[in-house]
């Protein structure tokens, strides 16, 4: 059987075309896919490493800041469960009052309420009643000093967030209302916020 020149040319072109298609599917496309996968893997891992390096730097920075902050504000700690935290804070409030020369009349915790920003936290208040007395003009200034020493000591208690309400009122002895040299007292009423860990038992029943 003889093949004409035209047929031969058609066969040649067809063969070349088939060869090109085969080369694309067998060589070029797999290579390109493998390269794209390699690049994607590289980018993903590079992003992970960069994020980890960034985290490490951030941790170094915060470690320094925390160290400085703890020197002035006392030890920082994460929230504890309500019972544990209230017990610890109550004990330390009494110690702070004794250390500051404040006569503590009462320290009453309230029930915890949810902390809006973070569902894992709740906030309880401690209502503190106390007084500071002075006998003469020489010790009148020390009375105020003791009040602020007490507040400073409260702020060093782990878990205490802030003083929410403060009510200070000075009283002189009867018969000499405007003369501090005759002695007197400062009545102190405080509400201090304490952050505690939210407990599952406090969840709303309908939220389950």
């Amino acid at each position: 059987m003889e093949i004409s020149r035209r047929d031969r040319r058609a066969l040649l072109l067809g063969g070349v075309g088939l060869g090109l298609i085969a080369m694309y599917f067998l060589a070029i496309e797999p290579l390109a896919s493998a390269y794209a996968k390699l690049v994607a893997d590289h980018d993903r891992l590079a992003a992970k490493v960069a994020r980890r390096i960034h985290d490490n730097r951030k941790a170094e920075y915060y470690a320094g800041r925390l160290k400085e902050y703890e020197q002035t504000a006392g030890e920082l700690s994460g929230p504890k469960p309500y019972d544990e935290q209230i017990t610890a804070v109550g004990e330390q409030i009494i110690a702070a009052a004794q250390k500051s020369g404040v006569q503590l009349r009462g320290a009453t915790p309230t029930a915890a309420v949810p902390w809006g920003n973070d569902p894992t936290l709740e906030m309880a208040l401690f209502h503190i009643d106390g007084e500071v007395r002075w006998e003469n003009l020489m010790t009148a200034g020390r009375g105020w000093e003791n009040v602020f020493k007490f507040i400073a000591n409260l702020y060093r208690i782990p878990g205490v967030l802030s003083v929410e309400r403060l009510d200070l009122s000075g009283e002189q002895k009867k018969g000499s209302p405007n003369d501090p040299s005759q002695g007197g007292k400062i009545a102190l009423r405080l509400a201090v916020s304490v952050l505690v860990e939210a407990t599952p038992s406090r969840e709303e029943p309908w939220a389950r």
Binding site: Y35, L38, V39, D41, H42, L45, A46, K48, V49, R52, D55, N56, K58, A59, E60, Y62, A63, R65, L66, Y69, A73, L76, S77, G78, P79, V113, P114, W115, G116, N117, D118, P119, T120, M123, F148, I151, A152, Y155, L161, S162, V163, E164, R165, L166, D167, L168, S169, G170, N178, P180, A191, S193, L195, A198, P200, E203, E204, W206, A207, R208
Partner: protein, 476 residues
């Protein structure tokens, strides 16, 4: 790339002596020829082995010399200076000393070694020729079919021969070189390697005594006899008697000298004394063109045209397109291989690193509870001590504070008594100026009842707590 062939052309009366120099490795081949300078230039061209117009790409350079009789030569001493300053000093001296206006002169100079006579000085050998004579000489050679690339002086030719063409030992002091032919003696006096004078003395037959005396005068005109270390004698063998006569007259050793070992003739043999004496200036010109092309005194000649190397380089590259394409393709393949290899290696390393990091606890996660506590304190803690301190600072002695109430949500309210009612308002004004308080209002004053007063204010910079209402359940 082959060394260019240099041709030295020395015009001697009606005869042109030609020396062709070609460097082959360490050897320098010299081919000499003597041509009659014909009146008919076309005839000269036809008999001239050097082409009138060199073919493109030919690397032959022609160096010719002005006759000594037309050249004014001086040897001066100048303070040592940089090239530009020295050239200006020489130009001033040329203008002052030579009898031709400087704008009608072609001149140049050669620097000698630096000598110290108290201060640092340098000898300079200056030569000048009238411009019209240069033009005439170039036209004469050109008409005879010799295109001259550089026209210099015989003194430069003899200097180059002395420096590069003779088998001599480099010495300090004065030396005399005498090139003897049947027609004349060429006497060159050198001091510390620098040519001081060149004189051509006609050699009359049977008057050897006269020639020797003139030679003596030429030497003693430059240096005293006892300063001359030796006389270098280059002459045909037949001139032995003349050598003896000169030695006897001068009372100095007259030593025969040969060509340098690297100079060989056409057959590879050393140049003969006859050849060296007759063709000395032509050989010197060729040597000057070969060894000192940029240092010789250049009085005229064709402009130097050099093939632009960049163009040549591009042509060389363009001559092999497939070779360069293959090289580019190979480079592309290497680049792709490096890229893929580097990506793979980096990916592997990063995977290992991420694996190691994943097994270790994140330091940030460990610090997170403390960081959260610190941020909450910074945001929500009320600085009670600072507030009371800022409140008490402007209180005058006439005011006694009896109570202070502050709260996060409510305002700051403080009460007290004052003997001076104006002091209450002054205190309110002072508190308004503070950055910590806003909306300061004296709410009530009781001057008739002991001077009691109440002032309220808002606290600046105290953030309200986040809403504490329960909004749905917690995610566990």
């Amino acid at each position: 790339m082959s060394e260019p062939t240099v041709v030295g052309l020395h015009l001697c009366g009606t005869v042109l002596r030609r020396a062709e120099l070609h460097r082959v490795g360490a050897r320098t081949e010299i081919t000499t020829a003597e041509l009659p300078l014909l009146a008919d230039p076309q005839a000269a061209v036809s008999s001239n082995p050097v082409q009138a117009a060199p073919a493109e790409g030919e690397t032959t350079r022609c160096i010719a010399a002005m006759p000594t009789s037309e050249v004014m030569s001086r040897c001066w001493t100048f303070p040592d200076a940089d090239e530009g300053k020295l050239r200006r000093m020489v130009a001033h001296r040329v203008e002052a000393d030579l009898p031709v206006p400087i704008d009608q002169l072609r001149w140049g100079y050669r620097k000698g070694a630096v000598r110290s006579w108290g201060d640092t000085r340098r000898q300079v050998f200056v030569q000048g020729v009238r411009s019209e004579q240069v033009g005439r000489h170039l036209a004469k050679l050109s008409a005879a079919g010799f295109p001259v690339d550089a026209l210099t002086t015989e003194a430069e030719a003899i200097s180059a021969l002395y420096q590069h063409g003779l088998e001599r030992h480099a010495t300090e002091g004065s030396e005399v070189l005498v090139l003897v032919t049947s027609d004349d003696w060429l006497v060159a006096v050198f001091g510390n390697g620098l040519l001081h004078s060149l004189r051509r003395i006609p050699a009359e037959p049977n008057r050897l005594e006269l020639t020797c005396r003139q030679c003596q005068q030429a030497i003693e005109g430059q240096v005293s006899r006892h300063e001359v270390r030796c006389v270098l004698w280059c002459a045909p063998v037949a001139q032995v008697q003349a050598r003896g006569a000169l030695a006897e007259r001068l009372g100095i050793a007259v030593e025969p000298i040969e060509s340098a070992r690297h100079l060989v003739g056409a057959g590879g043999t050393r140049l003969s004394p006859e050849q060296l004496a007759a063709f000395g200036p032509a050989i010197g010109l060729a040597l000057a063109g070969a060894y000192e092309p940029d240092r010789i005194i250049r009085l005229g000649g064709r402009e130097r045209t050099e093939v632009e190397p960049r163009g040549q380089r591009f042509q060389r590259i363009a001559a092999h397109p497939w070779r360069w394409t293959a090289a580019a393709a190979a480079l592309a393949i290497v680049a792709v291989a490096i890229q893929v290899g580097a990506l793979g290696w980096e990916t592997r390393k990063m995977r290992e690193l991420v694996g190691e990091l994943a097994s270790a606890d994140s330091p940030l996660a460990a610090l997170q509870p403390k960081i959260g506590a610190m941020q909450r304190l910074e945001t929500y803690r009320i600085d009670v001590e600072g507030i009371v301190a800022d409140l008490c600072r402007p209180i005058p002695d006439s005011i006694v504070i009896s109570s202070i109430q502050l709260s996060r949500g409510r305002r700051l309210v403080f009460k007290g008594t004052s003997k001076d009612p104006k002091a209450i308002f002054a205190l309110a004004d002072a508190l308004r100026k503070s950055d910590r308080f806003a909306a300061v209002n004296p709410e009530g004053t009781e001057p008739a009842r002991g001077g009691g007063f109440t002032i309220s204010a808002e606290l600046v910079g105290v953030n309200t707590l986040p809403s504490s209402g329960r909004r749905g359940g917690q995610w566990r």
